[in-house]
Every structure is written in structure tokens, then in C-alpha cells.
């Protein structure tokens, strides 16, 4: 007789949505197991190295789709390990967005006011620093000065970075070697482990089935620790509650594959995907103009030439985050850094025949130090749709690590294309003034559009036709299965999403705890922040009765 592995709560994925659920459920007394497809790395494993096989390619995932490529984390801690840690809250108007369905797409219960206490809970759990101008990198400062020169405002972006430890090495995507980035490896995850949660790395969940007793059975493959194309075994774990938090590029695929065993999925599973309206522009600065027009000087003879230096995004322009403007014309423009490898091939030369390769591109690369990358987050139209799932995971893996071919198809609508064009023109207007720079958008012709912010592929909502989850994040028609990651977010946010993903995950917990209780699990809600702080808990207390009203 083979023994069946059992747990109260099985969590798929160890990013924001997974870690937050794991902590609260474990702290509340449930037995929690987390399955993570990627490896488990710690501070000393994070290398400054572009060589294939270094931490950069082990923990990073790049899935090419048809019209949209997604980038994300592939390790314990998920996106929090590779991300840039900008943690702004979403502006108020976002929650009233209608998007492609011509009526409010967020659940009526969620507004900025009702989400703020949950944002506060996150801010107490993941130390987020309000950055000052002294923290802004040269590139952030340059973006601010250019905005100012064009009569615009600019803001240092709040970030989960301990600036006293940060060396401005700009290797955030390879994992932070200096423990400056406050990834989930320093808060929710260790707190979950301390409460008995178990993390199983290199376990890739494929599908879910249901047992006769009503419990769920989660099926996984074990992944080779160096060559992710190889699997080394398989297994199952039974659980009373399943929380899926594999990220918006992977969660719907697991559910699609489970349709054969679980029965029909809600229509919105694998539909309404949003790339958070992301698009990048590369500016190549004229160093003399930076000095003469903006009056910038590093004090070492250089005006700028500092693309390599910094900590991802540090300054954003929020002038278009104005709720009185029409939908699809509101966006933020954030200074960013993207390392070579992925961050240069899509950059286009300027001129009559812009190109991503050839002699002019080589010339452009020779000016790499004078690049400034601007990141647009517009309102897209949730036009992404997932095709039938691949054999395993969410992609056919091409390389041993990092690169795979997925099934997401994304054909930008006129709304999306027009919003991108508007934001492109705005960036050009700001940065080409007085000969400061030449600006080109990254090409969408090679790998389609691309996003580090996949969202909405299994979203919450009040309308069962256009949302896969109810407003408590439970999968419609499949009680006991919850989704707490970026796929639950209804649509583009116009700012970086991790703060909102996390606040929604925090907000989903009381309902998940109750569902577990109803299935006989001895668990309660009400853990403090991982650090033991309790203000956040007190802040959400008044909201919980309404949340639990069915």
C-alpha cells in the first residue's frame, strides 16, 4: 500500500499570492505545503553573472507567446526575488475601470478606500521605503529633470528596498546579493516556515483532481535542478483547500489542464489576460545636452552615462494618472533599468529604417551607458487568451533554463494600440526636447508585446461570465480552490502591480480560513505581520464581517 501524502492546505507557487496565503494559514494553525516549480536559492547564491546557468537564468522565466511574451520568477519567492521592488498603490480611478466589458470590472466591494487597509497590512509586512531624491539613481534623476524641463512633475517611487544596504549594482533580476531587496525570502516565507509550513522546490504542479471524499489531489512532476527540460519523478498530495498562485502566466494553464478531471472551468479561466499595458522605450541621451539643457553633472566629469548604475525604477511621472481623463488615456511613465541580454535586443535604432540588428544597432549599443529606459503602464483591453495547455508546465521549454514557448495569444485592440502610441509620443515629447535624446519604442515584431506584469487571466469579479473567481477569490463552481496571485487582478493598474496583488491576497485570507474551517481544518484568522507588528491587523478588523457575509 502506498501512503498518500496529505495536508490541510496545498499552495501552488511561492510568489506574493502563495507566500501571503501560506503565512496566514500556517500561523492560524493549518498544515500547509507549498509546491514551487523553481529552485530555492539564498543570498549567497545570487551571482552577478550573465552566463547561462548562473542565478540569473535559474530563477528567471521568459515565455514567448503569440503576440505577448511574459517574464517572471522561477524560484522560491517567485517574482519577489527577481523583481524591481517598486511598490506603489494603484490610483483611485483604476477600481472604476470598465475595460472591455463596458461595466465596472472590479467587484463592487473593492475600491481604493476599502483596499487601503489591506495595502497597509502589506506595507507593515514587507518593509517599503518611501524613497527620497537622495535615493534616486542617476537615471531616475535624469528622468525627473527631463520631466521638469517639459513642465511635468516626477516622483521617487516607493520601493521594498533597504537603501542602507543597497549598492546600486542594478543586478536585481539575478536576486539581491546584498539583502537590500525585501523579497518574500525575508518576511512572509520565513514566517510561514516558522509556523510549520513546508516548501518543496522543483515541484511543478500539472493538474488537480478531486477525490471521492471531496478533497483535492494535486499532481506534480519533479524538475531537474539544472536542466528544467528534464523531469525526475512525479507525485500527488491531497488537500482540503488548494490555493493556486503560480502567477498569471501559469495559473490558468493548471486549471485548463484540470478541466478533464475537475469538470468545466468558468469561461474567464485563461481569458481577459492583461500585460498591465506595459511597453518600453529606449532613449539614447546626448551627454552634452544633458549637461547644457538640464544642468546635470555627476561631479566626475560625466553628465550622465550611468545606465548601468542604480536599483531598477526609482522615479516615475504620474501626470496622466488623473481620474478625470478618459479610460485608455491614463498611464504612468517610469524610469527603468533592463539588463543586457533581454534588455537590448528589442531596442530599435532611430532613423528612416529602424532596426533591431545590424551596424546601426551596434553603434547604438556602443552608447549603452547613455541609455535611459522608460516603462509605460497604460490601460490595455484584457485581450490575452490562452490556447490549449502544453504537455507540462506553462511552456515547451526550449533552453535548459529561462526560455520557453507558451500558448498565450495577445492581439492588441485599437484601444491598447492607441494608448501605447499616446504614451510613446509623450515620452518622445519629454526626452527629445532641445536635442536631449533620440527615443524609440521597443519593437513588438520579434516576440510580440512583452510584460513583466502578467495579470487578470483568472480574475475576480461580480459577473460570472467575465470573472473566474468570486470576490472572495474562490474559483466559481469549484469550492475550496482559491486563486490569490496576479491572475486575480481584474485588469491593468497603470502602476506596478505587486502591491495590489499582495493587498488582494491579504484580503482573500479571511475567506480562505473560513472555507478551511468549514472543511474541518483547525485554523483561525488573525496573525500579526510577519515581524509581529499588529497595526495592520487592527486596521482591517472592521472590514472582516462584510468580507465574510455570503
Amino acid at each position: 500500500m502506498t501512503s498518500v501524502e496529505r495536508t490541510d492546505v496545498l499552495i501552488v507557487g511561492t510568489g506574493f499570492g502563495g507566500a501571503i496565503a501560506a503565512y496566514h494559514l500556517a500561523a492560524g494553525g493549518a498544515k500547509v505545503v507549498m509546491l514551487e516549480r523553481g529552485p530555492w536559492l539564498g543570498t549567497d547564491d545570487f551571482e552577478h553573472d550573465y552566463k547561462l546557468g548562473s542565478s540569473y537564468t535559474r530563477i528567471f522565466d521568459f515565455v514567448v507567446g503569440d503576440g505577448m511574451s511574459t517574464l517572471g520568477g522561477n524560484c522560491v519567492g517567485g517574482g519577489s526575488v527577481v523583481y524591481f521592488a517598486a511598490m506603489p498603490r494603484a490610483p483611485r480611478f483604476v477600481f472604476d475601470r470598465k475595460g472591455s466589458i463596458a461595466r465596472r470590472m472590479w467587484p463592487s466591494a473593492i475600491t481604493r478606500d476599502t483596499l487601503d487597509p489591506w495595502y497597509d497590512r502589506v506595507a507593515e509586512s514587507i518593509p517599503i521605503t518611501q524613497q527620497g531624491w537622495e535615493d534616486a539613481s542617476y537615471s531616475g534623476g535624469l528622468w525627473a529633470a527631463a520631466c521638469n524641463h517639459a513642465g511635468r512633475t516626477a516622483n521617487p517611487v516607493p520601493a521594498a528596498v533597504d537603501t542602507t544596504k543597497c549598492t546600486n549594482c542594478n543586478w536585481m533580476m539575478a536576486g539581491c546579493r546584498f539583502e537590500a531587496k525585501q523579497s518574500l525570502l525575508f518576511n512572509y516565507l520565513p514566517a510561514a516556515l516558522a509556523h510549520g509550513a513546508e516548501i518543496k522546490p522543483l515541484h511543478e504542479v500539472q493538474k488537480i483532481s478531486k477525490n471521492e471524499d471531496g478533497d483535492y489531489r494535486v499532481h506534480y512532476l519533479r524538475v531537474d535542478d539544472e536542466d528544467y527540460r528534464e523531469t525526475t519523478g512525479s507525485g500527488t498530495i491531497d488537500a482540503k483547500i488548494v490555493v493556486i498562485a503560480a502567477g498569471a502566466a501559469a495559473t490558468p494553464v493548471i486549471l485548463q489542464r484540470s478541466e478533464a478531471t475537475l469538470g468545466p472551468m468558468p469561461h474567464a479561466v485563461g481569458r481577459y489576460f492583461s500585460g498591465n499595458g506595459e511597453r518600453l522605450n529606449t532613449a539614447v541621451l546626448n551627454e552634452d545636452r544633458v549637461r547644457d539643457v538640464l544642468g546635470l553633472d555627476r561631479g566626475d566629469g560625466l553628465a550622465y552615462a550611468a545606465n548601468q548604475i542604480g536599483k531598477g525604477p526609482t522615479v516615475a511621472n504620474w501626470d496622466r494618472l488623473d481620474g478625470s481623463l478618459p479610460e485608455y488615456s491614463r498611464y504612468s511613465l517610469e524610469q527603468l533599468y533592463f539588463p543586457p541580454g533581454l534588455g537590448t535586443i528589442l531596442a530599435l535604432t532611430g532613423g528612416a529604417d529602424p532596426s533591431w540588428f545590424g551596424p546601426d544597432k551596434k553603434e547604438m549599443l556602443a552608447r549603452w551607458r547613455s541609455w535611459l529606459i522608460i516603462f509605460q503602464m497604460i490601460e490595455d483591453d484584457n485581450e490575452g487568451v490562452f490556447g490549449p495547455p502544453p504537455e507540462r508546465g506553462n511552456a515547451d521549454r526550449l533552453s535548459q533554463q529561462m526560455l520557453g514557448i507558451g500558448r498565450l495569444s495577445y492581439k492588441p485592440t485599437l484601444n491598447t494600440s492607441a494608448a501605447w502610441a499616446m504614451a510613446d509620443a509623450d515620452v518622445k515629447d519629454i526626452l527629445e526636447r532641445d536635442g536631449l535624446a533620440t527615443v524609440t519604442p521597443w519593437t513588438n515584431d520579434l516576440v510580440g508585446a512583452y510584460t513583466v506584469h502578467p495579470l487578470a487571466s483568472c480574475r475576480i469579479g461580480d459577473d460570472p461570465h467575465t470573472s473566474a473567481l468570486d470576490d472572495g477569490h474562490e474559483l466559481r463552481g469549484h469550492p475550496g480552490i482559491f486563486v490569490t496571485d496576479g491572475s486575480a487582478v481584474p485588469g491593468a493598474l497603470t502602476v506596478n502591480p505587486a502591491m495590489t496583488i499582495s493587498a488582494l491576497a491579504e484580503r482573500a485570507i479571511p475567506g480562505i480560513v473560513r472555507a478551511a474551517q468549514e472543511r474541518g481544518v483547525a485554523v483561525t484568522y488573525g496573525a500579526p505581520a510577519p515581524s509581529g507588528a499588529t497595526n495592520g491587523r487592527a486596521g482591517v478588523q472592521p472590514l472582516i464581517p462584510a468580507l465574510l457575509r455570503k
Binding site: 551571482e47 552577478h48 553573472d49 550573465y50 552566463k51 547561462l52 506603489p88 498603490r89 490610483p91 506595507a123 518611501q130 531624491w133 537622495e134 535615493d135 534616486a136 539613481s137 542617476y138 534623476g141 525627473a144 529633470a145 520631466c147 511635468r152 512633475t153 516626477a154 516622483n155 521617487p156 516607493p158 549598492t167 546600486n168 549594482c169 542594478n170 546635470l296 555627476r298 548601468q308 548604475i309 542604480g310 501626470d319 494618472l321 504612468s332 541580454g341 537590448t344 535586443i345 540588428f357 545590424g358 551596424p359 544597432k361 551596434k362 553603434e363 549599443l365 556602443a366 549603452w368 526550449l398 533552453s399 535548459q400 533554463q401 526560455l403 514557448i405 520579434l446 516576440v447 502602476v495
Partner: protein
Amino acid sequence: MRPQTSDDPQTRTMTLEAFADTIIPGEKRSSDDRAIAGAAPGGGAVAAGALELLEWDATGVSGGLDDFARALNTHAQAHTAEFGLPTDDTVPPFVALSYEERSAVVKRLTAPGHPEKALWVSLALFCNMSYDSAAHMSTADAIAAGHPGLTSMGVTTPDADGLWRFPNFSYGRPLAALHPDTTASGSPA
């Protein structure tokens, strides 16, 4: 040095070198270098180690290189015929093309709608990576060895422990007015 069949190692190497050189062009290694077109000064993708990277099985493209080279030459032959370009049997058809014509072939193969686009884009991606990130070798070693791509881009040398630190990183002063609707914690209102 006449190539015998389209599968012989020399044909394959020259063809792939010519492809890599189309993505990031460089100067010829010698006056009789045919694979490298010489379309730009300094080392290009070939000098950067594109072939080493492509041949590494970690990329997932190494197993298909024979097919890539064969297909590229077939496309080059079709291109040569279509535009009535001169032929040269002493080198593989893609290598026989001028830089401009190689570039035209690559543009076609990687254009939206081309049935083999994904394959050629992945090949181009690794050629580009050999130059802009030296993904086949440790970054610190590559910089120490004067890797053409990293050197030309001006990637700085790391500290002795192989890690980068930039003690000077900020202009350190306010450079714009803040948005009026900013919350106390620094978010949009």
C-alpha cells in the same frame, strides 16, 4: 576550401558565422574572411563568441544547428534566384551574399507572419546575447578578457569579489516638483 555538401562542418560554421555577423556585424579576421562581411569596425557577434554560445546545449538550439544552416542556405538560394543576384559556388549560398542581402534575408525570416519566425528569432536572440552579455562565459572573465561586446558597451569592471557596487549613484537633489496628488507614503492618491 570548396564546401562539399551542405552538411559539412565548415559549411555549417561559415553559415552560422555569417548569420551571427548579420545580427551584430564586425570586422573581417583576415582579408580572405568570407563569413564575416566586414560591415562594421571592431569585433561583432562572431568575435564575441556567438558560435560557442550556439553550440552549447544549454541554449536548446545546439541540436538544430545543422537544420538552421541548411535552411538558411536554402532561403539564401531562393533570395539569390528571386533577385537575380550573382552566385558563388566556392562558399555556402548565404555566405555568398553581400551584407545588405544577408540583412534582407534575415529581415524576411524574422518578420511577423513568417512561418519560421520563432526559430530565427531565437537564433538571433542568442547571437545578440553572445555580444551584449557574453552568456557563454562568466561576465567578470569576459570583461577581463576584453570581450568585444561588453567592452564596447562600457560595462564597468566589478570589484575584486566579482560584484558590482556604485557608491556614487545619485545627483542627490530634488529635480522635479512632486505630483500634487501624492499620498504620505509616496503613492498616487
